[in-house]
């Protein structure tokens, strides 16, 4: 692979170098991560973007900024080990409450997941404010509706979530294998039937229906009916 990459690009090393400079410039200048396709569209035709990205990754491996892949796109980030120095640059990020963080984790690992399922896992009813504040971060989204009685809304994570936590894909979630192995990703008991994995694939699952066009009406309805919602009793009904 490495040899073939070199072979591919050996034809004209100066073209490859120029390609590296172009990608470097684009990634430095962009406020958002860029996909391989976006980058490739600005390159000479005979230069392979994958080779360039590999080369840049290597070039920057030991530097103060590194090339990382997040949400399937590429971007430069300050090196992790320097975070102690840059803490001063940190903008005042809103600190998520413990409940919100836990809810976010449940959504990330169990997506697509309904509010009732979140509550079953956490053993506590979810305050509307918790989901609202998560929606506000832009890290979670409404996916669709579960095809079960009541047609509850399903939640999932967004690309912004992956970008924020520096994840390439949702499969890279830390500790995912342990959770999977223990059968904890299967919301329904008993464990061991099937081992679902979280998926933020935008296409709906078999048991998901699309959200109505008039989502706002539905959300308003939901909000209005929320008071009557029975509190989770901490045990599966």
């Amino acid at each position: 692979m490495k040899r073939s990459a070199e072979q591919r690009n050996m034809s004209d090393p100066s073209v490859f170098r120029e390609g590296c400079r172009i990608v470097e410039a684009l990634l430095f200048a962009s406020a958002d991560p860029l996909s391989g396709e976006e980058l490739a569209s600005r390159l000479p035709r005979d230069v392979h973007i994958a080779d360039i990205l590999a080369r840049l990754r290597e070039d920057y491996a030991d530097r103060g900024v590194t090339l990382v892949e997040v949400a399937g796109r590429w971007t430069f980030r300050t090196s992790e080990d320097l975070s102690y120095l840059l803490a001063r640059e940190a903008q005042e990020t809103r600190k998520l409450s413990r409940a919100a963080l836990e809810t976010l984790a449940v959504i990330a690992y169990h997506q697509p997941v309904t509010r009732a399922e979140i509550e079953d896992i956490r053993g506590v009813s979810t305050h509307r404010g918790t989901l609202d504040s998560l929606m506000e971060t832009g890290w979670i989204r409404l996916r669709g509706r579960r095809r079960t009685p009541g047609r509850p809304v399903t939640y999932g994570t967004t690309d912004a979530f992956l970008v924020h936590f520096g994840l390439t894909v949702v499969d890279d979630l830390p500790g995912l294998d342990e959770l999977k192995g223990a059968g904890f990703l299967d919301g329904r008991l008993p464990p061991g039937f099937s081992v679902p994995v979280p998926s933020d694939d935008p296409s709906l699952r078999e048991d998901e229906d699309p959200l109505e066009e008039d989502l706002f009406t539905r959300l308003a309805e939901e909000k209005a009916s929320e008071v009557e919602e029975p509190l989770s009793d901490g045990e599966d009904a």
């Binding site: 971007t75 640059e89 008991l189 009793d233």
Partner: protein
């Protein structure tokens, strides 16, 4: 939980001394009954897989009892859990009924243990997630991204056809809008009288007035003025006793003939 639920001694469970058997719990610190159960389970200091659900249920019920003795109001979900655990406890202590509709008590206990393990695992995952280098906290993107400048290039859409059409149409419209007032043709009463005088002189019998007049009409557009002037003239001539007029009904042709003394009676009878 609410503020009024706080125990007098707000010591968090983890601060508890190793040997201290007393249940000192800051209710405020718990996120629901499952969380409380998980904390109680941790105190059994055994692997969650080997946890004694019975002991756990007893501890939980003891906690609820203690809370009640302090006359604390407990949120409904804590009480529901208490009721369920009391039921589970009795099921676990009693011999299993031979055949029941309900799942065996052991299975219920295992489900609870599973939920506790799952909650703990999710919490660990949440912590791992939180400990990841986060953007804006641990790692940073370019502080001064250079925006892509968009040069808007306007491409005007106009074809030669559009151009010629626009030119020709406006020139033509303008050219034709230079109207000159054509002189309006009016057949005067005098002209009409002259024409009708010739009719009288001709000595014809009943004649359709319009047919006769048409001989004098050059342009169909003049028909109205010819008819109007001629009719006025005939009325004048009737008054003078020169002609007779006759019409058999509304919109039917008007007949005209010179008046002659010899047929006067016939005419008056008509």
């Amino acid at each position: 939980m609410r503020k009024e639920l706080a125990f007098e001694d707000p010591v968090v469970a983890v601060d508890r001394g190793e040997a201290e058997p007393a249940l000192v719990v800051d209710v405020d610190g718990f996120a629901g009954p499952l969380d409380l159960l998980l904390e109680l389970a941790r105190r059994q200091k055994v692997d969650l897989h080997k946890i004694s659900v019975l002991a756990l249920a007893e501890q939980y019920l003891g906690f609820i009892e203690a809370a009640r003795s302090f006359r604390l109001e407990l949120a409904a979900d804590y009480l529901v859990m208490a009721a369920w655990l009391a039921y589970l406890k009795s099921r676990l202590l009693l011999p299993e009924p031979a055949k029941g509709d309900e799942p065996p008590a052991e299975e219920l206990a295992q489900r609870l243990a599973f939920r506790l393990r799952r909650l703990e695992a999710v919490r660990e995952a949440a912590k791992k997630l939180y400990d990841r280098p986060q953007l804006g906290r641990d790692v940073f993107g370019r502080g001064a991204p250079e925006p892509v400048r968009i040069d808007r290039k306007r491409d005007w859409d106009a074809s030669l056809y559009d151009l010629l059409k626009a030119y020709a149409e406006q020139r033509q419209t303008k050219a034709l809008s230079r109207v000159s007032f054509a002189k309006r043709f009016v057949w005067s009463l005098a002209e009409a009288r002259d024409a009708l005088d010739r009719l009288v002189g001709g000595g014809l019998d009943w004649t359709v007035l319009d047919d006769y007049l048409m001989a004098f009409v050059v342009d169909p557009a003049q028909r109205a003025t010819v008819r109007a002037s001629a009719f006025s003239a005939t009325l004048e001539m009737v008054r003078e006793g020169l002609i007779d007029l006759r019409q058999d009904g509304a919109f039917t042709p008007i007949f005209v003939r010179p008046r002659r003394p010899d047929i006067e009676e016939g005419a008056s009878s008509a």
